[in-house]
């Protein structure tokens, strides 16, 4: 059964007690919440995710509950609990969904060390995956959402999970958080995209989440092989450019975009080395999403000519 199949009252009841067990592949999340406004938002963005009817194990036990201090009457707040611990200061009560997303990121970043964690988008087409490693502000999420709504399967927006044993990219598709101007850009680019509410005044400005298309969620147990590593960079009014990146530089940039490369030691080095071995590496500068997607589609189809790809030059 999917979340969307659960009547809202039943979802609310389960979230309250005993908590909802559902799969955000490759993890099982046990989520508890007593927030009245939260269940409809959760159901809208996680509509296609599978509920575990007989869950006996969860990777993360998370609660999103109203804070109990006197502030509850003055400035209502929500508290994030994981395994009965409170890792963060509370957030305003009306930002429960962004809080869940950031909290879940924190859980993965803190605990999932059997995989290499890259701060990277990851999408797949025809069995081949592209990694889009980038730090905030580079236009990664916007490009991910746009590619996802132009036929690429979303493997991940925030965390690319790489299995060291075979370099498989393990899907971890979740709602894509768009910030500020990107929200209107994607609304215009993909009017069919289902989005959650806008959350103004978060630490990153206004945030709204794009629901991944159903296909990306349904196929979230299908790993993919990375074929390209592309470091995206949005620059207003910039001409589109796709530049080859020497592999040693790509190595350092990719390792620098990992959350646990140093922590997992030699496995991290060998995993990043393996990805660099098997991928072509590029720098992408873009300002126009349609142009960027046309170029990446041509790359995936093997239709780029030599003039479409610039040689790397030291700046």
């Amino acid at each position: 059964m999917k979340l969307a199949d659960l009547p809202l009252d039943e979802l609310r009841r389960r979230l309250h007690q005993p908590g909802l067990f559902f799969r955000i592949e490759p993890f099982c999340v046990h989520l508890h919440s007593n927030l009245a406004d939260f269940p409809p938002v959760l159901r809208r963005l996680y509509a296609d995710y599978q509920i575990c009817e007989t869950a006996s194990f969860a990777d993360f036990h998370i609660s999103l509950d109203r804070s109990k201090g006197w502030l509850r009457w003055w400035r209502p707040q929500v508290q994030f609990w994981v395994d009965n611990e409170i890792p963060f200061a509370p957030f305003p009560a009306d930002t429960a969904l962004p809080f869940l997303e950031w909290g879940l990121n924190w859980c993965v970043g803190q605990r999932v060390h059997h995989l290499l964690l890259l701060h990277s988008g990851a999408l797949e087409k025809n069995g081949q995956a592209v990694l889009l490693p980038a730090w905030p502000g580079s236009g990664k999420s916007t490009l991910c959402a746009a590619l996802n709504y132009r036929g690429w399967r979303l493997l991940s927006d925030e965390f690319a999970l790489v299995r060291p044993a075979d370099l498989a990219i393990i899907p971890f598709p979740r709602p894509i958080p768009l910030k500020n101007e990107s929200i209107a850009v994607i609304r215009a680019f993909a009017p069919e995209a289902i989005m959650g509410p806008e959350f103004p005044k978060t630490r990153k400005g206004t945030v709204a989440h794009v629901r991944p298309p159903r296909d990306s969620v349904i196929r979230s147990q299908e790993p993919a092989r990375a074929r390209w590593i592309i470091f995206p960079h949005f620059e207003a009014n910039a001409a589109l450019s796709l530049k080859t990146l020497p592999k040693e530089r790509a190595f350092l940039k990719l390792a620098g975009n990992s959350f646990n490369y140093e922590l997992i030691g030699l496995r991290g080095f060998e995993t990043v080395s393996g990805l660099i071995d098997s991928c072509d590496c590029y720098l992408l500068t873009y300002s126009d999403l349609e142009q960027a997607i046309t170029r990446l589609n041509a790359l995936a189809a093997g239709e780029l000519t030599r003039t479409d790809i610039l040689e790397f030059a030291e700046e």
């Binding site: 020497p246 592999k247 040693e248 530089r249 190595f251 350092l252 390792a255 490369y261 140093e262 922590l263 030691g265 030699l266 991290g268 080095f269 080395s273 660099i276």
Partner: protein, 94 residues
């Protein structure tokens, strides 16, 4: 000035090379470095055996077919200082 250098006894070095430069991972520190051919050659010579700055210079001059002058000697000293700072080499104590 240090007379003889050797590889840091705790270092555990892993190399990768693709197109330009060399990626070096030190499993002892979990740190990653990018070295040029010269730095790689220095570390390889020191992996073979502890070596004095003067003998290192002579061997590098042969390896790269270069005339060894004061500037080359100065560059070698600065590379050795960098490698020492990164914990990759250390003064040799017999």
């Amino acid at each position: 000035m240090i007379a003889i250098w050797c590889i840091n006894s705790l270092a555990c070095l892993h190399w990768r090379h693709w197109e330009e430069g060399y990626i070096l991972f030190n499993a002892a520190s979990a740190q990653t470095h990018m070295l040029n051919e010269f730095g790689k050659a220095v570390l390889e010579l020191l992996q073979e055996a502890p070596n004095s700055v003067i003998d290192l210079g002579k061997q590098l001059a042969v390896h790269f077919a270069l005339e060894w002058d004061n500037r080359a000697q100065f560059y070698l000293q600065s590379v050795l200082a960098d490698l020492d700072q990164l914990g990759l080499i250390e003064p040799y104590v017999p």
